[in-house]
């Protein structure tokens, strides 16, 4: 479904992606792990065209991801994104945040969009917060609204960019539960995360990035318990012993 073929990307003189290739099949959950600066968030941002890439190609269902093309907005409706800092619209209520895309991008009737938004908010456990404003919610609640907002577009895949890194430890669980449910329902997911427990339990595949390359990738359990590459071993030793 998502096909990344040898992409390269530089910010000025710094090459942050040095030929990353990755294929994500429909219904698959892939976790990207690695130290900060390894390029994992950049890969994610290239998939839905928030970042352009210099070489290589990315296709979603055989359609080329090209930031400059008119097609890009349509492609983005098919691939949702959840951000580290939630990025909810602070001037709109929770339910308005979720309805925004369906009404203004997909031109759905307001009643349909509202009913769907309420259903999604109940699904993520926030049925009692629909009329609240984002700043009245905890980080964990805000992130679940952000997931509902992404789901409201009925995307074929969702990209998660460190969805729990900005949360207090006691709020991480609720967000991971929602993500686990999504994975079980067959949602295609690419997740940049530091939650090794989540990766081990939920991911079909884990890719370890280092210095702008995928150094090692494979079945989640194997990669996380018996990494073969020295860099992976080193990284896992650091994150698991912290």
């Amino acid at each position: 479904m998502i096909n990344i073929n040898a992409i390269h990307k530089s910010f000025g003189d710094v090459e942050v992606l040095k030929g990353v290739s990755l294929t994500v099949a429909k219904g698959e959950v892939v976790c990207l792990i690695g130290p900060s600066g390894s390029g994992k968030s950049t890969v994610l941002r290239c998939i839905n065209g928030l970042e352009s890439y210099d070489q290589g190609s990315i296709t979603i269902n055989d359609r080329q991801v090209d930031v400059a093309s008119k097609d890009i907005n349509d492609l983005r409706t098919q691939v949702g994104m959840v951000f580290q800092r939630f990025n909810l619209f602070p001037h709109r209520t929770v339910v308005e945040n979720v309805m925004e895309g369906p009404i203004f991008v997909k031109n759905e009737p307001r009643e349909t969009a509202h009913a769907n938004a309420i259903a999604l908010l109940e699904k993520v456990g926030l049925g009692d917060k629909v009329e609240a404003y984002p700043q009245q919610l905890s980080g964990g609640q805000q992130q679940r609204v952000a997931i509902a907002r992404a789901l409201a577009m009925q995307p074929e895949a969702i990209l998660f960019d460190e969805p729990t890194s900005a949360l207090d430890p006691e709020l991480v669980g609720d967000v991971l539960t929602v993500m686990r449910d999504l994975a079980n329902e067959g949602m295609t997911m690419v997740v940049v995360t530091h939650e090794m427990g989540f990766a081990k339990e939920v991911a079909d595949r884990v890719c370890f990035l280092y210095g702008g390359q995928i150094v090692e990738s494979g079945d989640a359990h194997t990669l996380l318990t018996q990494p073969s590459h020295e860099r992976t071993q080193d990284f896992l030793r650091r994150v698991l012993n912290h």
């Binding site: 839905n48 065209g49 928030l50 907005n73 349509d74 983005r76 409706t77 949702g80 994104m81 951000f83 800092r85 990025n87 909810l88 619209f89 602070p90 001037h91 925004e100 895309g101 203004f104 991008v105 997909k106 404003y133 700043q135 009245q136 952000a146 907002r149 992404a150 577009m153």
Partner: protein
């Protein structure tokens, strides 16, 4: 200061005050529209647009408003553009303040986090829609307090219209003072009337600042 003087002068000054209010509102509207346009131009990725807006803003900010008024009222007729003194004062003040309004709006727009725009893009919103639904509604809240301050400045600077013969409040005061020599009575009245107009505006701005300052720190909005 005779009470009979006050009752004699007040109706004339109030007539002037009405014109002062009209000029202020007219110039505020013009500066708002032009300022918003300039702000959007200045932030445009099209270099010709941002350069034009930037140059315009700097030139206008670099000129005394009174010179701009003289230019519009005395020089434009020589180029075949006739304006009444009232029209000239609204256009002059509106154009002069559009430069400051543009900077107010630009600061508001630039204060919006990049994450907001990315989130909007990630649900497939196009640039114009993002501007209308995500950026401007938030930018306006940020720009409102400085906008209110600009409105107060326009109110006070509307007195400059007296220099091109508009019979607004300051000019009305000048005329009465010149014919009655009651300088103290006249200018005290003029000053008090300006305060009657500007103080409510200033209190309003202060309230806005407190209100939005609180919500920006994560309170309820």
């Amino acid at each position: 200061m005779e009470f009979s003087d006050i009752t004699a002068f007040l109706p004339i000054l109030l007539k002037g005050a009405l014109i002062t209010v009209q000029i202020t509102i007219g110039a505020l509207l013009l500066s708002t529209l032009l300022g918003l346009l300039l702000a959007l131009m200045k932030l445009s990725p099209v270099r010709a647009l941002s350069l034009t807006a930037g140059t315009f803003i700097n030139v206008v900010r670099g000129l005394p408003i009174i010179v701009q008024l003289f230019y519009i009222y005395f020089v434009l007729p020589e180029l075949g553009i006739q304006l009444s003194a009232f029209q000239a004062s609204i256009i002059g003040l509106g154009v002069a303040y559009s430069a400051y309004q543009a900077e107010n709006f630009r600061a508001g727009i630039e204060a919006i986090e990049a994450g907001q725009i990315e989130a909007a893009r990630s649900i497939g919103m196009k640039s114009k829609l993002i501007m209308r639904r995500v950026v401007l509604p938030q930018a306006i809240r940020i720009a409102l307090p400085p906008y209110g301050n600009t409105a107060v400045m326009i109110l006070k600077d509307s007195s400059l219209a007296s220099t091109i013969t508009v019979a607004e409040m300051t000019r009305a005061g000048q005329l009465i003072a010149a014919s009655t020599f009651q300088n103290t009575t006249v200018y005290t009245l003029v000053a008090l009337l300006y305060l009657c107009l500007s103080l409510p505006l200033i209190f309003g701005v202060n309230r806005l600042e407190r209100y939005f300052g609180k919500s920006a720190k994560g309170g309820n909005s």
